[in-house]
């Protein structure tokens, strides 16, 4: 039996973060009532003319820069002609032979052998990125289909990879990397549930060692990362089986049935596409100057995987923490600002990656308003770590007051003073409390003396409670043991 390997190419559609459509200034938002975001251009009425959205061009150039593409000096607009009720003009304005971005690579991160171990990184080649308009949304019911043009005309980029992916896991990693970079740079929200990122997958298999590409099939409109992973896996198995039995693969479009987990061929009659591309006479080309590109480049953040590498190497953070801090550029900025004020990256990383994120996800509106607008500042986190380092408060107190710091924006020192949370290192005072707790709790005392080491924890807990967490835990342990001996 021969072994087969898969060769996969992806076309990823991503909606850009714009307030208006690609070729007219009708508003675009997700989740509005049907057909409330239209105008005569969106409806394709006679006599209307398209006008470019400058921001969409800028975001496309920035996407290209995130992925190291060559930005074309001149790009132009073409009509892709076909009839389908989701687009009223009977053509989609796209870019055919002169796209805005050429070449480039997407760095992917594969899953590691364990959750806390980083997987392999690899660069996947891109063919191009072009800019076009999205189509409307169809809903099917028994006797017909319903058309909502709200989404029609929304700025959409198509990121086209070379056939340079070799497993379903790599395909999923490719989508994750695009999503991470686009969200990171503020170019798109990439919410797949809202259709802001969709993917077509081209899959073929060939005998291992063969250089020649096999016949490919295409799966369209995959709308989740697991859908891409599962459908690609299914297609690889299906094609390998067919070839093994001496059968033939047909170049066709197949639909992924996500509920039942299989692909099925669409009617091939509909496949005879002849889009008759030609330059759109209504739109002038775009010329992109070097200065403009440089200016847009300067506004981009460091790439997330570059930042992750830096956090691992320069700060010695564990992979899981570095990867969490690099999911979001504001979070990374916050972390780095705090580290410049208190050079304890591990402790600060811990508070930012755990406590801060937990508070953020607890208040669901807070995340959308952005970290910079929150009352808590990076300096407060740095100060909190300093207070622990200097022995002013215990680690436990630090965690306990974090929610208050987050909500009120008060500095940790203020909270510590106001609540009298300073760690007590007064030996006589703590010893007094220890003696009282021992006297009040004969049961754990007896158990400890009978050799149950764990019983001391109940006494420690009592002391910490009585001192409201202010006693130094190491000192409490020492004193209890002394008194019990």
């Amino acid at each position: 039996m021969k072994d087969y390997e898969a060769v996969i190419g992806l076309e990823v559609h991503v909606q850009l973060k714009c307030d208006t459509k690609m070729f007219t200034r009708a508003a675009y938002r997700f989740g509005e009532p049907p057909n409330t975001l239209t105008n005569p251009v969106v409806m394709g009425l006679p006599g209307t003319l398209p006008v470019l959205n400058k921001r969409a061009i800028e975001l496309s150039i920035q996407t290209g820069l995130m992925f190291g593409c060559h930005i074309a000096e001149v790009c132009k607009w073409d009509r892709k002609n076909y009839f389908y009720p989701d687009q009223p003009k009977n053509y989609q304005i796209s870019q055919f032979d002169q796209p805005i971005c050429i070449g480039g690579v997407v760095e992917i991160e594969l899953p590691g052998p364990a959750r806390n171990v980083m997987g392999e990184h690899r660069e996947v080649k891109l063919t191009r990125i072009h800019l076009e308009e999205d189509v409307g949304k169809l809903t099917h019911y028994e006797n017909g289909s319903l058309v909502d043009f709200n989404r029609a005309g929304t700025p959409l980029i198509e990121i086209v990879s070379e056939p340079d992916l070799f497993s379903a896991e790599e395909a999923a990693a490719f989508l994750n990397a695009i999503r991470l970079n686009m969200i990171y740079a503020g170019l798109s929200d990439c919410d797949m549930e809202k259709g802001q990122m969709r993917c077509d997958a081209n899959v073929s298999v060939r005998p291992v060692g063969s250089e020649k590409l096999g016949i490919r099939t295409e799966m369209k409109n995959l709308n989740s990362i697991s859908g891409v992973r599962d459908s690609v896996n299914y297609e690889i198995r299906r094609q390998s089986k067919v070839l093994e039995k001496g059968g033939e693969i047909f170049q066709e479009t197949r639909r992924w049935n996500a509920e039942q987990g299989y692909t099925v061929a669409l009617r091939s009659k509909e496949e005879a596409h002849d889009y008759r591309y030609f330059p759109d006479p209504d739109l002038m080309p775009v010329r992109v100057s070097r200065e403009w590109v440089d200016c847009l480049h300067a506004k981009l953040p460091e790439r997330p995987f570059d930042r992750q590498r830096r956090y691992l190497k320069d700060f010695g953070l564990p992979f899981t923490m570095a990867s969490v801090l690099c999911q979001n550029s504001e979070l990374g900025n916050f972390f780095e600002e705090a580290v410049t004020k208190c050079n304890k990256p591990l402790e600060i990383g811990n508070l930012v990656a755990n406590d801060l994120l937990r508070e953020l996800s607890a208040g669901k509106d807070a995340e959308s308003q952005g970290l910079v607008l929150l009352p808590i500042k990076s300096g407060h986190v740095a100060e909190l770590v300093k207070l622990v380092e200097e022995g002013v408060i215990s680690r436990q107190i630090a965690q306990d007051i974090f929610p208050q710091m987050f909500q009120t924006g008060e500095s940790p020192s203020t909270i510590v003073e106001k609540k009298g949370l300073r760690q007590t290192t007064d030996m006589a005072e703590i010893e007094g409390v220890c003696a009282r707790i021992i006297a009040e709790n004969p049961k754990p005392v007896g158990e400890f003396r009978a050799g149950n080491e764990k019983a001391i924890n109940a006494l420690k807990g009592g002391v910490m409670k009585a001192t409201r967490g202010k006693a130094n835990p190491a000192m409490v342990d020492k004193l209890l043991r002394k008194l019990l001996a």
């Binding site: 714009c18 307030d19 208006t20 200034r25 009708a26 508003a27 009532p33 049907p34 057909n35 409330t36 975001l37 239209t38 105008n39 005569p40 969106v42 409806m43 006008v51 470019l52 959205n53 400058k54 921001r55 969409a56 061009i57 001149v74 132009k76 002609n81 009839f83 389908y84 009720p85 169809l138 809903t139 099917h140 006797n143 017909g144 289909s145 319903l146 058309v147 909502d148 043009f149 639909r255 099925v264 061929a265 669409l266 009617r267 002849d274 008759r276 330059p279 759109d280 006479p281 739109l283 002038m284 080309p285 775009v286 010329r287």
Partner: protein, 98 residues
Amino acid sequence: MSEETSIDIDYVATLARIELTDEEREQFSSQLEDILDYFERIKAVDVAGIEPTAHAFPIYNVWEEDVPEPGLSPDEALLNAPEQRGNQIVVPKVVEDA
């Protein structure tokens, strides 16, 4: 009429989603072939050294800022819809599946 400009009128009609009667097929075939013949004449012009362009004037970067402007109400948007339901246009069922 030269052989190379001969047009497949049925293919063109299919792409355009229109049905033609036999009479119309003949009529439009000959009209379209006249147009293609005219392109043959244009093709005869020597354009060596001329940069291909889709536009007569070298104008670039005609754009607007990404600022929304008022559009149509759903009622206005659907004035031409032959049938509607819940502010959506009803079209014959589009079947994607095999």
